[in-house]
Amino acid sequence: MNRRTLLKYLAFSTLTLPLILNANENIQKNKNAKLILIELKGGNDGLNTLIPYADPLYYKHRPNIAIQEKDVLKLNANLGLHPSLKELKELFDLGEIAIFQGVGYENPNRSHFRSIEIWDTASKSNEYLDDGWVKSIKIQNTSNIKGVVLGAEYGPLSGFENGIIKIENINSFLNKSKKLPNNLYLSSNNDALEHILRTEIEIKNSALKLEEKLKNTKPLKHSFEKNNFAQQMHIATQLINAKTNIPFYKTSLASFDTHQNQLNPHANLLKQLSQAIYTLRQNLIESGEWENTTIMTYSEFGRRVEENASKGTDHGTASVHFVIGGNVQGGLKGVYPPLSQLDSNRDLIYTTDFKEMYSFSDRHETAKLM
């Protein structure tokens, strides 16, 4: 149950080269590579995100909350995107978005907390790992800041000894850090104290670097919406455009746990997602960083096929996820789990293991699979 098990699992996977290898290779090849992870917190309803509008079973199971065919942004004769995702539809048409269907894992766990742990650590369902999966990517990056957590928990970025910082607002971070005393660092047998001292040093080092890089940057040309998620994406954009060379970013968009009256809130969340990604892309195109950037969504699980009595959906299994970037080969990937074949819990049966999905995020490898 250690990291080695995971490496072994991934390295000898027969289906594909794992991300750990190609991301490693990619980052060695392209030391400017950036990965932005978007956590759709609460369990995003995949069925109402990528809609099997041609399947009567979809409408049968969801008499109140199905998206009507006329509203679906059609991708082909069977599938289409939620009407809130119009910007992502545009990216789909441009071939910059890969849409992975039926993403999940063997023996799915329906607890928010355990399932996101499985995703964060890229473990199997019955395997308990401590470190986030991103830690396994060997980076040749010289940046002393390896990752920035912009929303919610560290998740996939946890387990690093140092180099990961959490920021909510860059200016206030820089201002406050100036008041921090220069404490000596002394290792102690008190874990909690050691954590505080480490954090102090981290702040000092990061602030120094950010200050220098951000000194001469221009304001962004395309402005983000006011919502919290858009603001996280704004900071990620600023840091990338300032050539800080920080490779990993983790953002979070919350409230996907739609147990009741889900139609409006869900539409709203998808809109926030779609708009912020689009604005980020526009800004990164300006700076020439879009080619270096890959965005990935993830979520602890999808939701039950059948709606519940409160016009919402309970915790489910497989869902749909997006990989987006200037260097991604777009298109629909994998197979939509058939609604006619559900598991004993009446949930979708996954068709793509998320651990394998990670390996598709590089065009080179994706091409091999096509």
Binding site: I165, K166, L184, N190, I203, H259, Q260
Partner: protein, 437 residues
Amino acid sequence: MFKQITLFSFLAMSLFGSDVEQCTHLLHRTSFGVSNLSLSSCLESKTYASFVQKMIDDSHEVDSNLSTTFTTSIMRPPHKMQKPTVQERKIFRKELQQQNLALKIWWFERMLKTEKPFQEKMVLFWHNHFTSSQQKVKQPKLMYDQNQLFRKYALGNFREFLHAMLRDPAMLIYLDNRGNKQAHPNENLARELLELFTMGEGHYFEKDVKELARGLTGYGLNKNFEFRFQKKQHDFGQKSFLGVKGKLSADDIVEIILSKEETSLFIVTKLYKEFVSYTPNAQEIQKLAKLFRESDYELKPLMLAMITSDDFTDKTKVASMIKSPVELIVGSLRSLEHKNFDAALGLKYMNTLGQNLLNPPNVKGWSGGKRWIDANTLLIRKEFLYKLTRGDEIMQIPLEQNRLTQILLPLKVYITPTEDKKKYLDLILQHPTYQLK
């Protein structure tokens, strides 16, 4: 200006003399900060155990002398508007916001002024266990009632507590049980009840979640937002839960849950991690869980045993945990006798530090521990502490420097004496060990 702090002394322990250290450790863990008064009364008590016993007995009674500016009459009774206009909706939202804030201020002031801080600490623990949030529940009165329920059972009987929670209107709204009907069960409450409130993940199957959800069908509210068992929506059929078969109601299932050792282990572990150490000691947990079961889930004997245990008083446990935002803020204000601090500002700081009172981030509550502190929150913590020493009020605290260090820092640290009291306080409050408890 901070260079004179000798970090070498982090490693030194037990420099206050054992009684003082034992008392400050106890108070840091069971109260909000250490005050001059609380330290004295601990030191004056006959024995450590008798002080703990008295603290627990006292905390079981609701503190009725506590006067606050809050009255429930400002809260409109819970109700649903019939087709409100845009304007009505706007007014309603504003009112709601004000009332939710008033409720937070009410609790904040209780924590700040109570003579039974251990009670409020237990209430905070239960708020983080049986989570509900204003954001979802929306009715301030129901959040108030739930908070008072936590106070009633803070150190009461967990069995009765659990049954009461199944009928708590805020909980039924928070976990969507109003929509849990025989025709289409909603599993939200059932799942979290098993996973987070009683047994913990891995001790039941998906089928048991579904069976409990069936048992909970019809546990809803009437139009006045009072608990109502809606017979028509309830599934009276045969069920099978963890191997027990019968026409089980949710209450029957709760009894089955309580008959399992896992439940006592789960609750005791959570309390242990809150009060004793982040690293549970399996042997001690077993012992305490056995006591918990044998006392029919009474919380008082459990907490007495836990707080007087060798594990709790063990010297390596001193200052080994990180203060939560509530502990940091309320504790600082209590220790520094800063009673007129703007509550709304205090609450705002709690929020930016990751602990929005009455609005836990999700049903699992705040994860806490080391996660309280990251680059972002550490800087905000320090900013709050600078703010504290900025006013004049703080300078009136009639304590000599030695005593201040004693009540404020959980570990003995050498702070260079200085004539400038403000500077001295800054040195203490900005010290890394001030974040510890």
